[in-house]
């Protein structure tokens, strides 16, 4: 019952809205598999999820931020600097738990700074996180230099990105567990309701006795943590860490996935589950275009067009 409460329905049309995206995915999958039967092979489908793993983690973590009408453009560099943190921690001989904690801590710290600037000082999220994007990238480059750092002899760390449990890769399990946890927070704790309330009407949330500023700081912290987690997974997958990872455009994919999942950039209702569907949608499109040998240029253009269409549809209905 309660799960249904978060459905958004403003007009008759929007009763269909929750199903539009899954239907679109099915439609596109059919189109791609007609064009290229190899698309439907199990290894390809698993590949889709692998490709979208990092975006998925970050999108899940950023959904709350978008729900409050904010945005976090700094996830790319945060991903890079957390990967570096993990590398340097292990390089210094610290254990895996400390390395991971340090990496996550860096992400949470940066997110918290973003959140503080937005919530306490009342600065616009776009500008704050854009500035942070530049600052963190600069810090990462000073720290790690422009070169790749090879992560050697760290079996436990490597397992995060490449290991399997019961035939399912650990990184996917990680994504699902993380998404499950955030979804649990959204559905089963007051936090989900408070976040939606802030996005709908910040003033009313404040007058209802909620700690609006604290909540905002926390959710930017969560977004930073998501980026850090993605950084750990990526470094583990490719056995390297580098300051240039999470290149410009990463944040666009993340935001696109969330927006495709139906969360309004103006704030308000949103759902982690639908963000995941948005991620899958983007993944299918990317993968399908790769399989069909669509070039990078068309892929970029398509992505821009999809975002514009998704946004325009949500604004017009």
């Amino acid at each position: 019952m309660i799960a249904r409460w978060n459905l958004k329905s403003s007009a008759k049309l929007s009763k269909l809205a929750p199903y539009a995206l899954p239907l679109a995915i099915v439609f596109i999958v059919i189109m791609f598999s007609i064009a290229e039967p190899a698309f439907l092979k199990p290894e390809n489908l698993i590949g889709i999820i692998h490709q979208m793993n990092l975006i998925g983690i970050m999108a899940v973590a950023m959904t709350f931020v978008i729900m409050t009408g904010g945005v976090d453009l700094s996830v790319g560099p945060v991903l890079a600097i957390s990967g570096l943190t993990a590398f340097f921690a292990m390089d210094a001989g610290l254990g895996l738990p400390i390395a991971i904690a340090a990496a996550l801590g860096v992400g949470i710290l940066i997110g918290t700074i973003n959140g503080t600037l937005v919530a306490i000082f009342g600065l616009p999220p776009i500008i704050v996180t854009l500035a942070m994007l530049s600052i963190v990238r600069g810090l990462a480059l000073i720290w790690g230099g422009p070169e790749w750092h090879l992560i050697r002899d760290q079996d436990a760390f490597t397992f995060i990105g490449t290991g399997h449990i019961g035939g399912i890769s650990f990184s996917i399990i990680l994504l699902l567990v993380f998404a499950g946890a955030v979804m649990f927070v959204q559905k089963r704790t007051p936090i989900g309701l408070i976040v939606a309330g802030i996005g709908e009407n910040e003033r009313a949330a404040y007058l209802s006795g909620h700690r609006v500023r604290l909540t905002k700081i926390a959710i930017y912290g969560l977004s930073g943590m998501g980026a850090a987690l993605a950084g750990i997974v990526q470094s583990s997958q490719v056995h390297t860490s580098a300051a240039v990872y999470g290149e410009f455009g990463t944040e666009l994919d993340v935001i696109a996935a969330i927006v495709l999942g139906g969360t309004s950039l103006m704030g308000g209702n949103g759902s982690i589950g639908r963000t995941l569907i948005g991620v899958i949608f983007l993944g299918v499109i990317n993968n399908g275009m790769n399989i069909l040998n669509v070039t990078l240029d068309i892929q970029l253009i398509t992505k821009g067009v999809i975002i514009v269409l998704a946004m325009a549809l949500s604004e017009l209905t």
């Binding site: 945005v71 600037l117 000082f121 009342g122 600065l123 616009p124 776009i126 500008i127 704050v128 854009l130 500035a131 942070m132 994007l133 530049s134 600052i135 990238r137 600069g138 810090l139 480059l141 000073i142 410009f248 455009g249 666009l252 935001i255 927006v259 950039l265 103006m266 070039t295 990078l296 240029d297 068309i298 892929q299 970029l300 253009i301 398509t302 992505k303 821009g304 067009v305 975002i307 514009v308 946004m311 325009a312 604004e315 017009l316």
Partner: protein, 340 residues
């Protein structure tokens, strides 16, 4: 014009900064360094002026980097692939860039998208178009062939003003790049447009109070599209300057430039609340950014530190903007209070 004291404060701050670096940074107070400054930041000032227009309307244009690349690639293709004469290339490039900007405005007005998401989407899309039309990828040999068209390369010309005036024996003036004069020309044009035309007044009105503007019969949609087109136009000019300097263009041209341009505009007192600011601020803002970055490099800071500083300066500028807003609100409240 509405904040003359603030402009003077900014100029004073700029001069003090220059003075400090002249005293403490080695090789800062040299003619070649000022040549670097002018050639390296005139186009930033142009981009900042363009960016100011959307910001005046409480919007933002994140796509200018991609539009620079797009315009650059159009110039590259026209001269290298189609051997179009330069005097045609210049207007064509500007038309293409202005059109790209206008598309941003159209998306915002007619699809009712938020400016930042619309321009974030076109950032990706325009960059994609750049790859799609890239003559470099089509014929790899061209990537290493320099552009020679005199009209394009001619933009990278330096003028010995001191020599022309016959005063080079007394003062050692730097040579001025053509891009500096382009920047001045655009500055004068835009400043005139904002302060002395009805269109300029309308832009301030829409930015200051959109509802009042609508009730006053101003076509707010057309004004919005116009401001984004201006931003595109400036990206086109900046692209020409860059292509002339590099004698080629790349797919990655202009990456990250939106950050610098937004920083310069906000430093220059163009308020994110809309309706406040002039062209003077962004120009000073751009050169202030230039002086700080070049000065610190001369003091031995790495280019990564510059990146950090650009971000930090942007944060400081938006904090200051916010501070001014709060001050204005306080004053307005005090105004009401004083009457009771």
């Amino acid at each position: 014009m509405q904040r003359r004291p603030a402009s003077i404060a900014l100029l004073a701050f700029f001069l003090v900064t220059v003075g400090l670096f002249c005293l403490f940074a080695p090789n800062f107070a040299t003619t070649s360094n000022f040549e670097n400054l002018m050639s390296g930041f005139s186009f930033v000032a142009i981009l900042a002026m363009g960016q100011s227009f959307p910001i005046l309307l409480r919007g933002i244009d994140l796509s200018i980097g991609a539009m620079v690349a797009l315009a650059g690639m159009v110039a590259f293709d026209l001269t290298m692939l189609f051997h179009v004469p330069g005097y045609l290339i210049l207007p064509l490039v500007l038309i293409a860039a202005t059109g790209a900007g206008a598309i941003n405005g159209i998306l915002i007005v007619y699809l009712r998208l938020q400016p930042f998401i619309a321009t974030l989407a076109t950032l990706a899309a325009y960059r994609g178009v750049v790859y799609a039309i890239s003559g470099r990828l089509l014929i790899p040999k061209l990537a290493t062939t320099p552009i020679t068209d005199p009209w394009i390369v001619g933009i990278e010309t330096y003028f010995d003003i001191g020599g022309a005036l016959g005063i080079s024996d007394y003062v050692h003036l730097p040579w001025f790049p053509l891009s500096f004069f382009l920047m001045i020309a655009i500055f004068i044009t835009f400043q005139l447009l904002l302060l002395s035309t009805k269109l300029g007044r309308d832009i301030y009105t829409v930015g200051g109070n959109q509802e009042a503007a609508r009730l006053a019969g101003i076509n707010t949609r057309r004004i919005t599209i116009f401001t984004y087109a201006i931003s595109g136009f400036c990206a086109g000019v900046a692209a020409l300057v860059l292509v002339a300097r590099l004698t080629t263009s790349t797919e990655a041209l202009g990456t990250g430039m939106e950050l610098t341009a937004i920083s310069a505009a906000v430093i220059g007192g163009v308020s994110l609340q809309g309706g406040i600011g002039s062209m003077f601020g962004p120009v000073i803002g751009a050169f202030l950014l230039g002086v700080v970055l070049i000065g610190l490099t001369l003091l031995g800071a790495s280019q990564y530190v510059q990146q950090i500083l650009t971000g930090a300066i942007l944060l400081a500028a938006v904090c200051y903007d916010r501070y001014l807003v709060v001050q204005r609100q306080r004053r307005a409240a005090a105004n009401v209070g004083a009457n009771t």
